[in-house]
Amino acid sequence: MQRRRAAGVFLILLALCAEPLWAQAPAAAGATSPTSASPQANQDASQLNARLAQLEQQVADAHSAGDNAWMLVCAALVLMMTGPGLALFYGGLVRQKNVLATMMQSFALMAVVTVVWAVVGYSLCFHTGNPFVGGFGYSFLRGVGSAPNPDYAATIPQQTFMVYQLMFAIITPALITGSIAERARFSALMLFMVLWSLLVYSPMAHMVWGAGGLLNNSGGKFPTLDFAGGTVVHITSGVSALVAALYFGKRVGYPKQPMPPHSVVLSFIGASLLWVGWFGFNAGSALAANGLATSAFVATHFAAASATLGWAGAEWVRNGKPSVLGAISGAVAGLVAITPASGFVGPRAALVIGLVAGVGCYLMVAAVKAKFGYDDSLDAFGVHGAGGTIGAILTGVFAKSSVNPVFHDPAGKVLPVGMLEGNAGQVLYQLIGVAIAWVLAIVGSLVILKIADLLIGVRATQEEEVEGLDVSQHGEEGYNLEAQ
């Protein structure tokens, strides 16, 4: 890639050096034989045009090579967030008897959602359809090849865009599994996820990111800013997680029986991988290796840092000690909250958003959850639902046209984007986007839970749950320490 790019740059330089020579050539020819100049000049001009066209093509190829290299790496980084990132993060938080089942819930989605995506998922998200959901034109990935789709990313193969977006579609349902950890029946959960992917994720992704979508920030009826998935990924998954936790009911023994994480070490590794993977998630959402990607990368990192300090600091004040679990949970909360904002805000706003999310999500899981008594086992709602909502709203406050000039008037003049810039109405649009995501997640999840429950039964039996899902659902144990 780099070689091709270097070759492109070299050719441009060559062209710049050569131009004066050509410019002089006709003049010199004219001086000696003015009458015979015309056919010679025409030939020169056509040669020149051909070379220019070739050069333009090579420059475009070099540009595409750079963007494509970056986007393929980003796609891999986002997949790494699910496995091993989320799998370890969640796996460490459950009890020992459920570690494998919890990891499997994430890993299985890497396979299941991929198949759904190929059949119809990508199409429902990104093919032209109505404002609410995409059409079937890309079913079985028909026509999704190496040619770019200028509606989304003009410099990379559509196939790259497709596989990058797939990684988002994988991690989103995987996030839900945190709220119903340690008690779901595997078969029913997979059915739930297939339906959820089609009925909740696809419409939301289409509304926000799809061409012609209701909430699309260029041309949608309610232009909502969501750079990398605050509404599409985190609100839909977090709110669905809350609905699922309420529908499933509490784990056997909750809250009387202690259920501390069996290995904060695993969670620590998972959260650290999530932090790195999130650069692919947010910076990659620029869909090019450009300055906006850098800006999103920086914002992402700064928000994670301040949220870490926010959560751990709040704990320190309240309990007298900053915990490791608090620090890593804070980082994830900050990463969640900056997701919608990452391509619209600068580093200072990112620090503020992270801090608000770190403290806010801590209060959600430590105070609000205890008050209402629901069993959101691994705080999928407390972190993703709450963090996503905070982030989506604050995006409307802090978005800056100097970071990302998304709005123009018909004459092409750049318009203010966020509230602090003078576009107060944006907060309203953000709230509309948030509300639609909440309603879709609540209604969609309830219907799907009911279907999965009637067909299979979503919850493991009490015996299965007490025995542990590793043995009861998969016939394995995470730690066979006696095995020699």
Binding site: P260, R318, S323, L325, S329, A367, K369, A370, D379
Partner: protein, 112 residues
């Protein structure tokens, strides 16, 4: 013959092992155990939820010795296991009727 069961602070195990060796006691069986006596446990907090951990990790050392060596062994353990704080553990003694070496069926003190 007497069985000595000493439940000690895990952090003192290495020095107990050395002290017993110095006192000429050969052989021991060691188990990682959890428990509590009069010592209170501690609280752990995960995402705002408090868990009181009253079963603490300890190390149990078991050895069977000839009766004439019992006091030597006890003294070695007492000296090496003590930190002076609550939670240092306990020693229990039991009479042993018989001991048999599996390899050659030797019995009694010879089997120790």
């Amino acid at each position: 013959m007497t069985k000595i069961e000493a439940i000690i602070q895990t952090s003192r195990f290495e020095s107990v092992k050395d002290a017993l060796k110095e006192a000429g006691i050969e052989g021991m069986t060691v188990t990682e155990v959890r428990g509590h006596g009069r010592q209170k446990g501690h609280t752990e907090i995960y995402r705002g939820r408090e868990y009181s951990m009253d079963l603490l990790p300890k190390t149990k050392v078991e050895l069977v010795v000839a009766d004439r060596l019992v006091e030597t062994a006890i003294e070695a353990i007492l000296k090496s296991a003590r930190t002076g704080k609550i939670g240092d553990g306990k020693i229990f003694l039991t009479k042993i009727d018989e001991a048999i070496r599996i390899r050659n069926e030797e019995r009694g003190e010879n089997a120790l």
